[in-house]
Assembly symmetry: C5
Homo-oligomer: 253 residues x 5
Amino acid sequence: MDLGTIIGLVAGFGLIGWAMMMGSGIMPFVDVPSIIIVLGGTIAACFTYQRIPNVIAGFKCAIQAFLDKSTSKADMIPLIVSLANKARKEGLVALEGEQIDDPFLARGVRLGVDGLSPEVIKEALAGELSALKERHDRGQKLFKFMASTAPAMGLIGTIIGLVQMLQNLADPDAIGPAMAIALLTTLYGAMFAFIIFGPIAEKLTNRTTEETAVKKMAIAGVESILKGDNSMVIQSKLMAFLSPEEREALASE
Amino acid sequence: MDLGTIIGLVAGFGLIGWAMMMGSGIMPFVDVPSIIIVLGGTIAACFTYQRIPNVIAGFKCAIQAFLDKSTSKADMIPLIVSLANKARKEGLVALEGEQIDDPFLARGVRLGVDGLSPEVIKEALAGELSALKERHDRGQKLFKFMASTAPAMGLIGTIIGLVQMLQNLADPDAIGPAMAIALLTTLYGAMFAFIIFGPIAEKLTNRTTEETAVKKMAIAGVESILKGDNSMVIQSKLMAFLSPEEREALASE
Amino acid sequence: MDLGTIIGLVAGFGLIGWAMMMGSGIMPFVDVPSIIIVLGGTIAACFTYQRIPNVIAGFKCAIQAFLDKSTSKADMIPLIVSLANKARKEGLVALEGEQIDDPFLARGVRLGVDGLSPEVIKEALAGELSALKERHDRGQKLFKFMASTAPAMGLIGTIIGLVQMLQNLADPDAIGPAMAIALLTTLYGAMFAFIIFGPIAEKLTNRTTEETAVKKMAIAGVESILKGDNSMVIQSKLMAFLSPEEREALASE
Amino acid sequence: MDLGTIIGLVAGFGLIGWAMMMGSGIMPFVDVPSIIIVLGGTIAACFTYQRIPNVIAGFKCAIQAFLDKSTSKADMIPLIVSLANKARKEGLVALEGEQIDDPFLARGVRLGVDGLSPEVIKEALAGELSALKERHDRGQKLFKFMASTAPAMGLIGTIIGLVQMLQNLADPDAIGPAMAIALLTTLYGAMFAFIIFGPIAEKLTNRTTEETAVKKMAIAGVESILKGDNSMVIQSKLMAFLSPEEREALASE
Amino acid sequence: MDLGTIIGLVAGFGLIGWAMMMGSGIMPFVDVPSIIIVLGGTIAACFTYQRIPNVIAGFKCAIQAFLDKSTSKADMIPLIVSLANKARKEGLVALEGEQIDDPFLARGVRLGVDGLSPEVIKEALAGELSALKERHDRGQKLFKFMASTAPAMGLIGTIIGLVQMLQNLADPDAIGPAMAIALLTTLYGAMFAFIIFGPIAEKLTNRTTEETAVKKMAIAGVESILKGDNSMVIQSKLMAFLSPEEREALASE
């Protein structure tokens, strides 16, 4: 899982938990029905918003995006160079048994080993890349929708609680706790939206940009391997995908 | 009707109903005048917003979009292939009595059987497709307008209730229930906007994209049938309309 | 006046009036100073927002847009065809005394009767059309501005009322009514914005689109009349301006 | 100064002052520290938002835009025609001592009298025009920023006041007035944003559009004067800059 | 550090501090846990929003942008002219030991002294420029994200405080201070967003525009130095980068 996301979520909820602890403990803030209303209502709205398979695909893609151990741009270069060297020395077939860490690159190499023409391989990989973009895009839109819906569900829950409280003003001692519980859905709505859904939607966008760049490098790399480019040529070709900063970082290693 | 929409609406309102039940039952939350103000006010604003026939068309299109049992992209291929085979074996006229499930495809085939030239058929179907897009677009804009107007109507209703309450503070026991009722229009406004109107507006957009793709396949299919393409050629032509994922799903069937 | 606008405004204010009646009668909701603050403040801001002649033109155009009895696209066709027939039989001059319902078309025909060349007439009408668009656009922007300013004026009025109330807390019985009156400006602001200004701004946009299409038909029609096209040719030319739906509606008449 | 702006500001503040007078007089609404917080805080944020010279230039340009007595499009035509006539009769040099009301036109004519080539003059005037646009644009952005910052400063001031009030609840009689004062910053924030900054930002945009048109006419006019066009030609050239409405207004004079 | 930013931040916080002092002193407004929740929560969300290295780079770039003593456009001209003169008199190598204040220009000159071809130098500098833009862009997006997240964290903190207060209504004297503290996170959120994060995000955008222009001048300057252009030619080339206003300011010096 993406380390930044873990840190962000743990720190965010940790800080809030700590703030709760300091005052009165976490328990007064835990109300299962309130969580069900906000989270359940948000997910229910997702199904009105998108067809069922698309909602499921959206969630899957979000999870996958955080589990995906994608190769960094800098790691891609030596990986491709070593494969190219082997192919040049022992022939393309030697790559058959090769253990390649990046699954996208691996698929491209395997197609090459299977004897498909470079054009067909390029098209197949490009098709896969556009499918990945579409999947990420759907996931991102879903999370943006959830980020805007969760606070609304929180508001709905709070109004329901307020109405219930207002109709039973007989016992003054019950007013405070009832209002406290009514406010919890607003709290959950804001927390879900601003600590989880919103930032994750943004991270999915950033991930798409990064992964697209890495996968474009892989496509260029497979092309070079099949052509039999030497390692100098490959390196200079792939370097063009790096920003000046990344090039410097690579050089200083 | 679209299953996701049913699930979304039932689950959304079910959760809210359950939240109400847990506290005090649903009855305190049902106030017919409040519903009339929010829903009636929103619909009234629609007539100021759009000409009468357009408002009616917008609602019709929204309902139709959910009833429309549109054929999926994957189902379109065997349907077209079998029609093409029959036409190649028995001649175009053999399609006359054919029962075709997709009404758009059926209309295209009927035009072909009637002897119209492919260009005329293509143009007629394209015109129908653009009319469908325009209709959906109008429905979507109408629902977006309603999603932004409903909370405003809720606010107006709540202020009216508050003003009435504030002018009769003599009986302290009446304050709570009066304020509870005043809040109901805000609750209805939020519920209509975030559980119904907003997500439906989005779904209409998604439906338009999907149906456009299916109808473009139908147009290409009719063209192929008239040309007398063999099933291999048709299949490969129609495959181009599928995303890599859909192709995989079709292959694994 | 546009029927939908009348229905929308009457129904909207009727519903709100009915809601007020049910509770306490309309009188507690009528406060002339509050209306003056919200409406006057909004109009005052318009003058800071736009030069004086533009503000006046904006209001005029809005009123005119609702009074304008513009010809529908479907009615345009027989109108033009009958004029063309008369011109072909009796010569262009026969149109001199003709009573033409659509003023835009009438002006075009009159220019033709006066002997101006088709190019000059087309340019003159196109110029008038773009002036109409600009006028509508200005009116629409003005109403959008008012829709966003009215709630702000309502807020300002409410805060003023609250401040006055808070400084005189001596008499507890006066607090309720004072706060009720303070809330009225917020109520007026929301009502003006969401029932009147906002929807009217949108309707002006829609009207512009529709009238532009009708006027483009008129321009094409005048061109055909001057050319002496026969009614079949004119009809097929003008049909291209209709959407498939409108064509069907026309055919079924 | 632009008359509309004066009317708008005077009417806006007049109405608000009248509303205050009717209740309790204006004095309870005047709190110098509150004004300093809202206005000072907004201006302070401007310096974080833009470099110092740009902030100063932005304010200057806003003031200048309202003082600038720019010539109207309609007045431009006789002005240019009379200059051209004089130049044709007595030679370009005769314009040397001419008193020209529009400073932009005057500068162009002076450059011509000084013997610069038409291309150089056109370029110089175009450069000045783009500098004017940039200046206006900067002023407009600054006022938009202030329109969004002022309410936030008002909110900050109100919260500060509330916190101070809440920490001294001992004397119940002080609560009302304390809260009244706390609300004043919110009132000021809304008034500055919606009566002054927001509308002025919009007017600057409109002014830029208008002045650009007038200055383009001046550029075309100078070109015509240097070329020695006769008044008929100049008039028809400059007429093209007017909208059909303005042409009509000019013709009916 | 950028003087305007210092003035803006000092004045903004100074005014707020002064407003606090006038009422009750600053101490009641200092609550370390509240600061930790708002600032910590905002920073935590940043890590969910962006990958760790990007968050760090974003902060670094923001700091650097304010420390960077970038040369002004006007100062660039004499700097480049004097370097060009020296190079023309004593040869390019004479620039070797030259102390050049602008680091970007210095790098370009050094590459020239090292004998690289003008094309290579231009490309290298352009690459560095685009990397700078990307870095600024990332920093700007991060601050915009923080400006929208901080108020949400403030809201979350306030609701937590309210819930805690509502559950302990036994001691009426504790209600006021508890609510005061609950409001502090909202205050911090608004202050961070509207006084710090938001304006800084905008300033980073403005800085990028300015620095890009200066660096483009530097690139053109290095090109001229290598070509051996004389000072007149260089001056007129670089003048094209200035706006008419800046040219005037330079001329009047």
